[in-house]
Symmetry: C2
Subunit: 281 residues, 2 copies
C-alpha cells in the first residue's frame, strides 16, 4: 500500500505541499556550483557579505549562512508572508548572521557594490525582465572581486519514469502557464545571453555549468509528487490554465492520478536539468 | 572571425573529431557521483580493484586510476582499436596500475565477486540488453561491500541556445537512429527499473542522482560542435539515417550549418541531462 502523504506535518493543504519541496532545498542540493568558490572566499574574508535574492522560505539562505559564521547574509523576497516563514526557519536553526528584508529584484534597496557574493536560485525564470534584475545584481556586487551565482531551470527538460501521459501533459501545461505569466521556460540556456545583454559581462567572466534535481526514493517521490498533485488541485497554475482554456478539470484529474501512480511506482524516477553560472566581476 | 577547428591536432577527420570529446572526459566531469564514495573506500582499502566497463579511449579510467595509486584498475572495451588508443593514453599519463582487456559486457571475462568497484559510463544506453549487462556487473562485484557506479544519458533532454532548428532536428535524428540500432534514448530514467529487473537489487541499495555536461566557452563549443558536425559529415549515424530515409543530405547540410552557427555564437550554450546510480551490494 502506497501512501502519498509526505508526513503529518504537511496535511493542511496546497500551500504547505508546495512549501515542502522549497524547504527541502539547501546549499548542497541547490547551490553546489557556488560552494567551492564560496569556501575559498570565506577562508580569505571571513566577514564577507552575501545577498540571497528571492530567498523564499529561506532554507538555502540558512544553509549558506552556516558556512560563513563570521560573515553576514541578507535574504530578500517580495512576499512578506514567505519572509515570516523564512525568519522562523532561521530562528529554529539557531542562525543569527542573517537579516530578512522585503525587497524588489528590479530595485534592490542597497548601495552599489555592497555585497561580496550575490546569489539567486530559480528567480530569473519567473521574471518578465531578467536582464533588469541582472543589472541590479551587478550594481550591488563588489567590483573587482565580487561574484554573482545564478541557478535557473529548463522547464522543458523533464525526465521521468514510468512514461505516464498525465505527467507529460502536466509539464506542457506548466510551461504554457509559466509563459503566459511572463516567465521564461528556458532560463537555463539563456543565462549567458542575458548576462551579455546587461552590457557589463564578457564571456571570460562567466563559468557555466549544469546540474539537476533527482527524485527517486519513496520519500523524494512523495515530496515532489505531492507538490505536483497540489498544483492540479488548486493554486495559480490551475486557475490560469482553466481560465485560458489550456486544460479541463477532467484533464487535471488524469494528471493528478498519474502523479499518484508515479509516487507509488517503486521504480519511479524524476530528473530535471538546471543551468548555473558564476559571474566574476 | 570564428574558427570551428578545435586545434591543429584534430584536423584529420571525423574519427578524431568524435574522439576529442571522448578524451575530454575525466573522473571529475564524468564520474563525480562516484568520487566521494570511492575516496572513502580507497582510504579504507588502498589496494582495491576497480573495473571500468566500456572504457573507450580510457580517459575516465586513467583519471580514476590516479585516485588509487595502490589499487588496480581493469579497463575493458569490445573494440581493440579504441583499446590501443586507451593504452597509449595511459602510457602518456604515466599510469601503471591499469590493465586494458578486450571484453564483452554481456560475458565478462572475470570470476564472481572479483571487483570492489564496477564502473560504467554511457554504456547501457547503447546496449539492446542492458539488464543482462547489469546482471554481469552484479556477478563480478564483491557482495557485502562492493559498489556499482552507473551514468547514462537522457538523449531527449538536450537544452541549447540559440534555438536553432537544425540542432533540434539533429537531436531528433540521433534519437531515432539510436533506437533503430537497438539502443535506449531514455537510459537515465530507466536505471532503477533495469536494476530491479535483475532480481538482485532493491530500492534501498540504490542512490540515484542527476548531473549533466555543459558546453559554453569557445573551446567547449568548438569541441562539442565539431563532434556534431562530424556526425553530419559521415559515420554510423549519417549512414543509417540516410539508408532508412530519416534524413536527406540537404537536411544534414542544414544541421551542419546550424552547428557551425552555434559554435560561433558567443552566447551559445548547451546542457544535457545525465542520470546516475550507485548500487551498494
Amino acid at each position: 500500500m502506497c501512501s502519498q502523504e509526505p508526513s503529518s506535518t504537511y496535511h493542511d493543504g496546497r500551500q504547505l505541499r508546495s512549501t515542502s519541496h522549497h524547504e527541502w532545498r539547501n546549499a548542497l542540493n541547490s547551490a553546489a556550483h557556488l560552494l567551492p568558490d564560496l569556501q575559498t572566499r570565506i577562508s580569505q574574508m571571513p566577514n564577507l557579505k552575501l545577498l540571497d535574492i528571492g530567498c523564499g522560505s529561506g532554507t538555502i539562505s540558512v544553509s549558506l549562512a552556516k558556512y560563513m559564521p563570521d560573515g553576514h547574509l541578507t535574504a530578500i523576497d517580495q512576499s512578506p508572508t514567505i519572509l515570516e516563514r523564512a525568519k522562523i526557519h532561521a530562528e529554529e536553526e539557531g542562525v543569527k548572521n542573517i537579516t530578512h528584508l522585503e525587497g524588489d529584484a528590479y530595485n534592490l534597496p542597497f548601495e552599489d557594490g555592497q555585497f561580496d557574493v550575490v546569489h539567486s536560485s530559480m528567480l530569473l525564470a519567473h521574471l518578465s525582465h531578467p536582464v533588469l534584475a541582472l543589472k541590479e545584481m551587478i550594481r550591488v556586487t563588489r567590483k573587482q572581486g565580487g561574484v554573482i551565482s545564478l541557478r535557473e531551470p529548463d522547464l522543458k527538460a523533464w525526465s521521468f519514469y514510468p512514461s505516464l501521459e498525465g505527467i507529460g501533459e502536466f509539464s506542457r501545461v506548466q510551461c504554457l502557464v509559466h509563459e503566459l505569466n511572463g516567465g521564461h521556460v528556458d532560463a537555463a540556456q539563456r543565462l549567458v545571453t542575458w548576462l551579455f545583454q546587461t552590457g557589463q559581462v564578457e564571456r571570460e567572466m562567466i563559468k557555466s555549468s549544469v546540474s539537476g534535481w533527482c527524485y527517486s526514493t519513496p520519500e523524494e517521490r512523495r515530496m515532489w509528487g505531492n507538490v505536483m498533485i497540489g498544483a492540479c488541485e488548486g493554486g495559480g497554475m490551475k486557475e490560469r490554465a482553466l481560465r485560458d482554456g489550456i486544460v479541463t478539470e477532467t484533464e487535471l484529474d488524469v494528471m493528478k492520478k498519474d502523479w499518484e501512480t508515479w509516487i507509488c511506482a517503486e521504480d519511479g524516477w524524476f530528473g530535471c536539468l538546471i543551468g548555473e553560472a558564476l559571474v566574476f566581476l
